[in-house]
């Protein structure tokens, strides 16, 4: 069965510093890959997605992610973090043969120090 691993439960960065959130997946072929952000009491907002093609994907709010097939990874990055980026971030996988289901990682909570 496919799985998604987000190794970091919490990450704290200083405002203005760069950010990288890790995501690894276990799956035999290239799935659809997603990053979502969730603020307290809110639903999930899509940051970016990868289906095929260019392995560097640009998303909203200045985020980007890079798909690395050899490492089964889809890490999320931002060059300069803002205090408003503090939230929980979820990586998700949507294997094509599973149709519409998404399998989510356990999430990484981002704290931003001023």
């Amino acid at each position: 069965a496919q799985s998604v691993t987000q190794p970091d439960i919490h990450i704290t960065v200083s405002e203005g510093a760069s950010l990288e959130l890790r995501c690894n997946y276990s799956y035999g072929a290239t799935p659809y890959l997603f990053w979502y952000v969730q603020s307290p009491g809110q639903g999930l907002q899509l940051l970016l997605k990868y289906f095929s093609g260019d392995t560097l994907v640009q998303g909203i709010k200045g985020f980007e992610a890079e798909f690395k097939r050899s490492q089964s990874s889809f890490n999320l990055r931002k060059p300069s973090v803002h205090w408003s980026d503090a939230a929980e971030y979820f990586c998700a996988v949507g294997p094509p043969e599973y149709g519409n289901k998404l399998v989510f990682g356990a999430g990484t909570i981002l704290r931003v120090k001023s």
């Binding site: 999930l44 149709g99 989510f104 999430g107």
Partner: protein
């Protein structure tokens, strides 16, 4: 509507009580999904509708869980004889197509069983 609307936002149920959670998807969205998000975890798939047809209910944890979407728009997730382990946030998402990449999530219903 402009977004996916879920009601109630919060529900406290006594153990053994039946509850009904409502989801109003974005108008015209064909697909509707329910996910369960336990505290500190990522969302987990429960069930999927395409119009009024429930095409996948493999994620429903027990026969106490039942979902319907009789007219292909509003959906209700019903939980009978609630148990403490049912405490979670229940997220609804809709998509204009049958594919995972079009998801828009609602803000969720937080169910607490006491």
């Amino acid at each position: 509507g402009a977004g996916v609307s879920q009601s109630p936002r919060y529900k406290v149920a006594k153990r053994g009580q039946d509850v009904a959670l409502r989801c109003d998807p974005i108008s015209g969205h064909v697909s509707l999904f329910w996910y369960q998000q336990a505290l500190g975890q990522g969302p987990e798939f429960l069930t999927y509708f395409q119009n009024e047809a429930q095409l996948d209910k493999s994620g429903l944890p027990s026969d106490r869980f039942f979902a319907e979407r009789p007219e292909g728009s509003v959906s209700t997730l019903k939980i009978q004889r609630t148990q403490q382990e049912d405490s979670a946030v229940y997220l609804c998402a809709s998509s204009p197509t049958g594919q995972a990449y079009g998801y828009t999530f609602g803000s969720g219903t937080r169910l607490t069983v006491v």
